[in-house]
Each structure stands twice: as structure tokens, then as C-alpha cells.
């Protein structure tokens, strides 16, 4: 349109590129997008567009002209793993280094496996309800792992070696030297693609987005919903152009300058739209002077031309439209709606859209900052954007905060300061009833203290994966919480005494997750306390909790309301005696019973299961030897509601048996054989 001396065709294409990129890089949320101007929360979108295209010429910083391929060097963080920390079987560090088993396919302990598979945990009595569900993306991530590579590279290819049940990876993120996370790939067809039928190991190479900033930290996100069984990953190979670290500071400075120049305020946006943008690479102050002195008049005339043209177009449209009623109706807009209606409409929006819509007008700002819209806050899908500033902004708005989910925030990189979080809790914590802080890395002792003191109305507290071992955090203030109904301490090390005190203080406890409890916790004591103080317990997860003996199992039969219990890898070598029978006799409501690797199970125990558990829906008998076929058939016949039966590594059953039973009884039966010789 305008033929200013400063523009040229190159700029046109650059503009076009930038616009299309800005849209692609935003992850789609269920809420609506208003395509409005950005606020500071969205600054990273423009960082992406800046870094994507054509503005930064990284080439001159990469002196070396070759590609390198590197396997993962170490694991910085992960959300869940199958094995315990001390072990090298099925644990996260197995993903580092070269693949040990690929291209073989099977269930190998030398790979990385996660805790859950399929949708079975969402069907169990202990399922969780999402907080502020409109925030959750179409394909929610259930697990993640953050990998560290040795060298900085500009990534152009990633290969994920999946050796068992491929298909769980949904997103690949990279952490650039500009301290931002960029999503390099997202699986758009997760629900529409056919289920990948597992029989061969897969070297998965999703097409990555080209970025211009080097990285050496990659994050993979997983969703297991469509998997038949556990997924296992052997190695991750990242390849790209090597980046010379000596030039890092130069690149960062260059990048900062570009970013400042490109920060698109409203004026620059208008300029972009009119394809009038002076090239401001170097020396922009002089250029600006030059522009003000010589080209300003031209610019103003062009601007007025544009306005005249757009007004003409509008009038034309009005003349063309013959339906005058439409014009009348269009006079009643959003700004005429009553406040409560607007609140109701906005309650369907996700956080990002809410901030955007608040930038439109005073009225919309007032609506969008009303506390009722912030009674539930879910920052987990925004883990890469959560920062101290965001937290302080939300603190001002969320005066009646009831439910807060800040899982995964402050992960790997400290973007949220513990003091800010502490202030947040002190201000807004007393009405909190649900609090989820899974895998957060900003918690310190004083934060936990504040939690214990301020949030005494808490009904749900989830601190999964919250402290490394040895325990660095002092949890003792948590003993003040007295109203807990759900307590989740998956993979979190907690002192034995504190745990026992908490059990005593919370008689209304319904759901308790103590998976991967530290070896220092005596599970029999815990079982005694539960039997005495927490009789309303509905679900109990004691996965890999060592030192639970048959005695502990016996006392748990006092909890008659139990519907879900996970004794995987407990009751190690103990012979169970009559404890299982006693337990099953008293807890008749059992729907989910997991007895993976409880090697002491005998035929008699399975007989009890068949006869005493009419409501059983999920049963896990993985790794139990010495059971005869008839017992399995017995269970399948008598437990009419059974949906899942895990018989992996059990003997006395053949593949055709499993297929036959699966068809006849309509139960999902898992079975696998491992080759005898393992290398």
C-alpha cells in the first residue's frame, strides 16, 4: 500500500511470516481466543515470533558448521517413575546415555517407565477432579521428564527410543538461553490417530519447530490415556547445529536488543498492518531522528489515507446491507449486558483469555478482575509462564480463593520466589480448601510452615514429588491441619512421626497416597494408626512401601469403607497367612485391589478374592508365581464387574488362554512374557 522509502518487499514477507508464526506458536486452549493485544503475560509469544523468523541472524554466532548428535546426559526432574529412587530398574536415569535395549521390544528393567497407564486411574475411586477445568488443554499432560544435554545446540531433530507401548509423548519443550520455554512439537492428532498397535520398538522423531536460540534442556510431556499398558523409553537423542558457548553473551545481547526493538506496542502494530516499518537493526536512534525529520509528514498523510479508505469501506457496507434490523441489534453489545451475565460468560474463559479480555475496556476489565472468577485457580497448564509477577497479580484478584493448583510451576528454573508464594498464602490461604503443589520446586521450609499455619480449612493437600531425599523440607507444621480428606504424598519423603501425627489429627481422611514412602517409614505403624484413627478411608495407596507385613494388612481390615487399595510391591517375602482373608471379609466394598509383586500370594488367597470381592473392578496380580489356571478362571467367573486384570509375569498361562478369557468374560487382561535370557 504505502510506498515509503524504508520498506521493501523483504519486509513484507517478514511481516507475513511473523504474523503467521505468532498464531501457530500459541498452544490451543479450550477457551476462546480474542486475538487481542498482548499483555505482559504473553510476551513470550512475541519472543517466539522474534526468535522464529528472520530477525535474528544466529548464523554468525555459530562458528562451527557441523551437526552433533547427543544422548541425554542426565535427568533434571521427572514427575513419576515406576521404580524406587535407589534402584536402577525402571527408573528415570535409565533414559540417559545410549539405548540399552532398542531395537528389542518388551518390558525391560533397563528402561524408563512411569507409574500409570491407560485411563484406569481415572476410573478408580481415588480419581481427581480438575481445578478450573477450562484451563486444561485439549491434550493434558499427565507426566513429564526434563533432560539435560551436554552441549548447546540449535535443535533440529529429536529421536525418542520407545521400547514398550510407544505413543505417550505429546509435547517436546526446549529451554533456551533466553530463559524461556518454547514448545517445539505438539501432537495435534492425539485423539484422532489410530491406536498404535504395539509389537515393535519405535524410534520416534516428531518434526520439530525451528528455533534460533540454542538449548541444552529438553522436556518431554506424556499422556497415557490411549496406551494399553506401561510405556517405556530407552533413550533420547537430540541433534542439531552445535553452538559455540563463547558467543553466548554476544547472542544474548543481540537478542535483547532485537527484542526491545520488536516489542510490539500498539503503534508498531499499526505500522505493521500498514506494511510500514523502518528497518531498525543498528543505529536506530539516528534512524528515528531521520524519520522524524524527513518521513513523518509522509507517514501522517498515509495514515489519513488509510482512515479515509476504511471509513469509505464501512459506509459501503452499511449501504449494501439492506437489513436495517441487523444494525439496530448490533447497537446492543457486550457492554450493555448486566454484570452477572458477563461474569457467567467469563467464567468459561481460561486464564490467558481472561487477562486478554481485561485489556479491552474499563468495563471488561472490571468484570474480568472480579474475585468470583478467581475462586479456583489452575496454573498447571501455564507452568512455563508462571512467575512471581503473575502470582502477585493473581493475589490482588483472588480474594476468595478456594482451590489452587500450582503443580509443575517453578519447575527446573526458579521463576517463582518462595517469599512471594509465602506472601500469597498468607494473604489468600485461609479460605483454601484444595491445594495442589505437585512437583513444584519453589517450596522451602518457611512456605510449608505458612501452609500449616494459615490453611487450616484445607480438605485436599497434594504434595506429590515435592522433596528429594534426604528430606530437606521441614513439614512439621502440617500437623496443624485437621480437616484433611485427601492427602497425597506420592514420591515425597516425610518423617515417620509427622505422618503418624497427621493421621491421628485427620479422622475425616478419605484418600491417602503414600506411594514411594521412604524406607524409614514403618508401614506397620502407619497401618495401625490408620486402623485406629482413619476409619473413613476410601482409598489407600502403598505402592513400593517397604516393611508392610502381614500384621499391617490384618489391622487394615478395620477400615470397612475401603474401596481402593494398592499393595504393589509391599508384603515382600512375607507369607500372608490369613491376613488377606480377614481383610477381604471386612472390606466388602473393594473395587480396586492391586497386589503387584506380592510374591507370597497362594491359590488359597486367590480363592478368597474370588469369593469375597463381588464388587471388584480392577485387579493386579503382576509377577505372582505359582498360581494355577483354575484360580484365574474362578476369579473371572465370580467377579462379575471386573474390568481390568493384570497377569503379567504370571506363570501357568498361555497367550491363547488370555485371549480366550478376554473375549469370554469381557475383561481387559494384561499379560506379557519376557525372553528368558536377559542381557
Amino acid at each position: 500500500m504505502s510506498q515509503s522509502s524504508a520498506t521493501n518487499s523483504e519486509d513484507d514477507s517478514k511481516t507475513a511470516n511473523n504474523e503467521s508464526v505468532a498464531v501457530d506458536s500459541v498452544i490451543d486452549f479450550k477457551g476462546k481466543h480474542f486475538g487481542l493485544e498482548s499483555t505482559s503475560q504473553d510476551s513470550d509469544d512475541y519472543l517466539v515470533s522474534g526468535s522464529e523468523g528472520t530477525m535474528i541472524d544466529v548464523e554468525r554466532f555459530c562458528h562451527a558448521d557441523y551437526r552433533i548428535e547427543q544422548y541425554a546426559h542426565s535427568v533434571l526432574d521427572f514427575s513419576s517413575q515406576y521404580g524406587i529412587d535407589l534402584s536402577i530398574s525402571y527408573t528415570a536415569p535409565n533414559i540417559t546415555g545410549r539405548p540399552s535395549k532398542y531395537p528389542e521390544y518388551g518390558d525391560f528393567p533397563q528402561t524408563f517407565a512411569m507409574r500409570t497407564y491407560g485411563a484406569w486411574w481415572d476410573r478408580a475411586p481415588s480419581r481427581l477432579k480438575e481445578i478450573q477445568p477450562q484451563n486444561v488443554s485439549e491434550i493434558p499432560a499427565e507426566d513429564f521428564i526434563v533432560l539435560y544435554f551436554e552441549d548447546y545446540i540449535i535443535p533440529d531433530e529429536i529421536a525418542i527410543f520407545e521400547t514398550y507401548n510407544p505413543g505417550a509423548v505429546i509435547r517436546v519443550w526446549a529451554y533456551t538461553i533466553a530463559k524461556t520455554w518454547i514448545c517445539l512439537w505438539e501432537d495435534k492428532e492425539f485423539y484422532t490417530k489410530p491406536i498404535y498397535s504395539p509389537s515393535r520398538a519405535r524410534r520416534f522423531t516428531p518434526p520439530l519447530k525451528r528455533i534460533q536460540l540454542p538449548t541444552k534442556t529438553i522436556r518431554l510431556e506424556f499422556n497415557h490415556q490411549r496406551l494399553h499398558y506401561y510405556t517405556e523409553i530407552d533413550a533420547v537423542l537430540l541433534s542439531g547445529k552445535k553452538f559455540n558457548t563463547r558467543n553466548m553473551q554476544h547472542l544474548l545481547d543481540y537478542y535483547e536488543r532485537q527484542r526491545k526493538v520488536l516489542t510490539l506496542g500498539s503503534i508498531l502494530c499499526k505500522l505493521q498492518n500498514m506494511k510500514f516499518r523502518p528497518i531498525c537493526r543498528d543505529n536506530y536512534q539516528n534512524r528515528l531522528q531521520h524519520f522524524l525529520m524527513h518521513d513523518l509528514d509522509k507517514f501522517i498523510s498515509v495514515l489519513s489515507d488509510v482512515q479515509i479508505q476504511s471509513m469509505q469501506r464501512q459506509q459501503q457496507q452499511q449501504l449494501q446491507s439492506s437489513n436495517t434490523d441487523e444494525m439496530k441489534i448490533s447497537k446492543i453489545g457486550l457492554k450493555n449486558m448486566p454484570f452477572e451475565i458477563m461474569l457467567k460468560i467469563f467464567s468459561y474463559l481460561d486464564l490467558k483469555s481472561l487477562f486478554r479480555v481485561g485489556a479491552v475496556s474499563r468495563f471488561l476489565y472490571d468484570v474480568s478482575t472480579h474475585p468470583l472468577l478467581y475462586s479456583e485457580l489452575n496454573l498447571k497448564p501455564y507452568w512455563h509462564l508462571a512467575s512471581t509477577e503473575l502470582l502477585s497479580t493473581l493475589a490482588k484478584r483472588a480474594t476468595i480463593l478456594k482451590k489452587l493448583d500450582m503443580s509443575w510451576c517453578g519447575c527446573t528454573v526458579q521463576t517463582i520466589s518462595p517469599t512471594e508464594f509465602k506472601k500469597f498464602i498468607q494473604q489468600r490461604g485461609d479460605s483454601l480448601t484444595h491445594l495442589r503443589l505437585n512437583s513444584t520446586k519453589f517450596l522451602n521450609a518457611s512456605c510449608i510452615d505458612t501452609l500449616g499455619i494459615v490453611c487450616d480449612n484445607l480438605k485436599e493437600l497434594s504434595l506429590r514429588n515435592c522433596s528429594p531425599s534426604p528430606p530437606l523440607l521441614n513439614f512439621s507444621c502440617l500437623a496443624n491441619l485437621k480437616n484433611l480428606e485427601r492427602l497425597d504424598l506420592f514420591q515425597t519423603v516425610i518423617e515417620s512421626d509427622l505422618l503418624l501425627t497427621m493421621l491421628e489429627n485427620n479422622p475425616k481422611l478419605k484418600h491417602l497416597n503414600l506411594a514411594f514412602c521412604s524406607v524409614a517409614v514403618n508401614m506397620d505403624d502407619v497401618a495401625q494408626h490408620i486402623a485406629k484413627y482413619n476409619k473413613q478411608l476410601i482409598s489407600l495407596d502403598m505402592w513400593k512401601a517397604h516393611f508392610l507385613s502381614a500384621q499391617g494388612l490384618l489391622v487394615l481390615s478395620n477400615c470397612h469403607n475401603l474401596e481402593e487399595i494398592d499393595f504393589g510391591w509391599c508384603l515382600r517375602e512375607a507369607s500372608l497367612g490369613d491376613s488377606l482373608r480377614e481383610f477381604l471379609t471386612q472390606c466388602t466394598k473393594l473395587k480396586k485391589l492391586f497386589l503387584a509383586a506380592v510374591r507370597g500370594l497362594t491359590d488359597r488367597d486367590l480363592e478368597y478374592i474370588a469369593n469375597l470381592c463381588p464388587n471388584l473392578e480392577q485387579l493386579d496380580l503382576m509377577g505372582v508365581l505359582g498360581i494355577s489356571k483354575e484360580r484365574y478362571i474362578d476369579i473371572l467367573q465370580k467377579c462379575a464387574k471386573l474390568q481390568l486384570l493384570d497377569l503379567c509375569f504370571c506363570d501357568n498361562i498361555m497367550d491363547y488362554d488370555v485371549a480366550l478369557w478376554s473375549r469370554t468374560f469381557k475383561v481387559d487382561i494384561k499379560s506379557c512374557q519376557v525372553p528368558n535370557d536377559f542381557r
Binding site: A64, I88, R572, A596
Partner: protein, 308 residues
């Protein structure tokens, strides 16, 4: 803190860069960072063996019948290990070879873990044993084990031995170090075991910490033999020393391999010799058991010499 490995990577990349100044930089880096001017000793190791049912079985890498072995090395240590699955489980339908194989393979993986301590090979055995509990597929059986670690920094060998496998160190034609056999009774060695569930009280199970540990410095040219009882029970010590002193100071792996092969072959031949008074027979007689001839058993020979 550049390890030798990282420095060499640096050098190879600089070559591609072809910038002379960078080459110089890298070269000086290496020299200043290498551990003094003393070069570090390492093992040249070879393996040979025969399963008891050699004529009818298939070869499986890493195992000889119910015996298993591993050899591996890291920048700071060289490790050799053997394990002998206890045959008594066969009548219960349990293959002890799986147990010993798992032990050795897990030891090998543990050596490459970050927290490997070359000075405590007992940790290898105990962590390996704990890993057994974390396997989905239940592994039952029992086995002896012997692990030998050369700590390159100090030129010292650390060993852990449980049961009747063992090692020998020969220098200048004499045995300078050897392991002690650990037995509860005759033909019942100390063993790491994982019994089937419910049988714990009936089965002999020794803790990894009951292993004998030894540590001693080694010199260049020393010959180290790590083997299962198939060798020590069939070949008298004098004959062993005769054979081993031939390879003192030998760095040619082919010659070493030939010696290991002959050791294994001799052990096998002697084990089937009905009239030969093997060390096993002598021991049996000491225990009031009338036995002659060799003891047919799986044979595993891991032979190494120390070089710089």
C-alpha cells in the same frame, strides 16, 4: 574439571574447526589436566569357559551353563566378576543360571553408575542383590560371586568374594594373593539367594556383607585369574601357577586368550578324569567322603594382566 574423555572430545571438535590457536588451547588443557605424568595401570582381560553340558547346549553370551561373568571398565576403574549358580535348585525347576546372570549384568550396569565407588566392591554385590527385589519378573535361585576392581588412580585392587569362586594373583612365579573359600559345610558354599516365597526359613541365604574383602596394590605384569570353582576344584594350584607364570607381563591379548583357553580346556579334561586326585577329591577325603577324580562343573576363566 575436564576428564580425559571430555578433553579428547574437545580436541576432535577443534580439529574440525581448524583453528590453530584453538588447537593449542586444547592441547595445553589436556596436559595441565591429566593426572600427573604417571600413567595409570589397566587390565587386559580375556574370558574362556565351558558349561558342564557343553556338548548339548547352545552358547549364550555372558554365561557358561549356570556360571556367569562380566568384565567392564570405566575411566577410573576396571572390573572383573564371576558368579556360580548353585546347582541344587535344578530339581525344583529353578534355573540358577538366571540368578547368577542377573547378578553379573546388574553389577556391570552399576559400575557405570555415577555413584560407583571402586574401593567398595561389596556395594556392587549388595546393590545388585537389592535390585533383584525390584524386578517385575521374579528371579529365584542362588549363587556365589566374586568381584574384583582395579582402582586406576591408586593402582590398587579391591575384591569382594562370597562363596567358593575366587581369584589368584601371580607375580614372579609365585602366588602373592588369593581368595579364601567360604563354606558352611563341604560343597555348600556361602551364597546369595532368593528363595521362592514362603521358603525363607528353609533356604541358606547369606548377606552380601558376609563377603570376604581384600585389597592390595598390584604391579605392572601381575597376572590375575578370577574363576569359579570348576577351575579351582579341578586344577591343582601348582599347575595353575605354572601356566599363569607364562603370561606374566604379556600384553598381547591373543596370547592371553590362548592361555585362558588352555586353562579352561585343562580344567574340563581333568574334571572328567576319573582317576585324577583333584583338589576337590582331596578336600572330600578330608571330610570323610570317598571321592576320586575331577568334579564335572561349569568352568569360567577370567584372565587379566596389569599393563600401563
Amino acid at each position: 574439571m575436564y576428564s580425559l574423555g571430555q578433553s579428547s572430545k574437545l580436541i576432535s571438535r577443534r580439529f574440525l574447526c581448524s583453528r590453530f590457536s584453538a588447537l593449542l588451547e586444547a592441547a595445553t588443557h589436556v596436559i595441565s589436566n591429566s593426572a600427573g605424568h604417571k600413567s595409570r595401570p589397566y587390565f587386559i582381560s580375556v574370558v574362556c569357559g565351558f558349561p558342564k553340558d557343553f556338548l548339548t547346549s547352545n552358547y549364550k553370551p555372558g554365561k557358561y551353563g549356570e556360571d556367569s561373568w562380566f568384565t567392564t571398565s570405566t575411566p577410573t576403574a576396571d572390573v572383573l566378576g564371576v558368579a556360580d549358580g548353585v546347582g541344587g535348585w535344578r530339581i525344583y525347576g529353578v534355573d540358577s543360571g538366571e540368578f547368577s546372570s542377573f547378578l553379573m549384568k546388574t553389577c556391570e550396569r552399576l559400575v557405570h553408575c555415577v555413584d560407583f565407588n571402586p574401593q567398595r566392591p561389596v556395594n556392587l554385590l549388595s546393590f545388585s542383590y537389592c535390585e533383584l527385589l525390584e524386578q517385575e519378573k521374579p528371579i529365584i535361585g542362588s549363587s556365589t560371586a566374586c568381584v574384583l576392581v582395579l582402582d586406576r588412580e591408586s593402582g590398587t585392587v579391591y575384591t569382594a568374594n562370597i562363596g567358593d569362586s575366587g581369584f589368584l594373583v601371580v607375580r614372579k612365579g609365585r602366588i602373592v594373593h588369593k581368595s579364601e573359600e567360604q563354606q558352611h559345610y563341604f560343597n555348600t558354599p556361602f551364597q546369595l539367594s532368593m528363595p521362592p516365597p514362603g521358603c525363607h526359613h528353609r533356604v541358606l541365604s547369606d548377606s552380601p556383607h558376609s563377603a570376604n574383602t581384600l585389597s592390595f596394590p598390584v604391579l605392572v605384569g601381575d597376572v590375575i585369574l578370577v574363576a569359579t570353582d570348576g577351575v579351582f576344584d579341578n586344577i591343582p594350584e601348582t599347575l595353575l601357577v605354572e601356566i599363569l607364570k607364562e603370561v606374566e607381563g604379556v600384553t598381547d591379548p591373543v596370547k592371553l586368550q590362548m592361555t585362558a583357553n588352555s586353562l579352561a580346556a585343562i580344567a574340563r579334561a581333568l574334571s572328567f578324569d576319573k582317576d585324577f586326585m583333584s583338589p576337590f577329591a582331596i578336600n572330600a577325603r578330608r571330610n570323610n567322603i570317598h571321592a576320586t577324580g575331577g568334579k564335572p562343573d561349569d568352568i569360567t576363566v577370567v584372565l587379566a594382566t596389569v599393563a600401563v
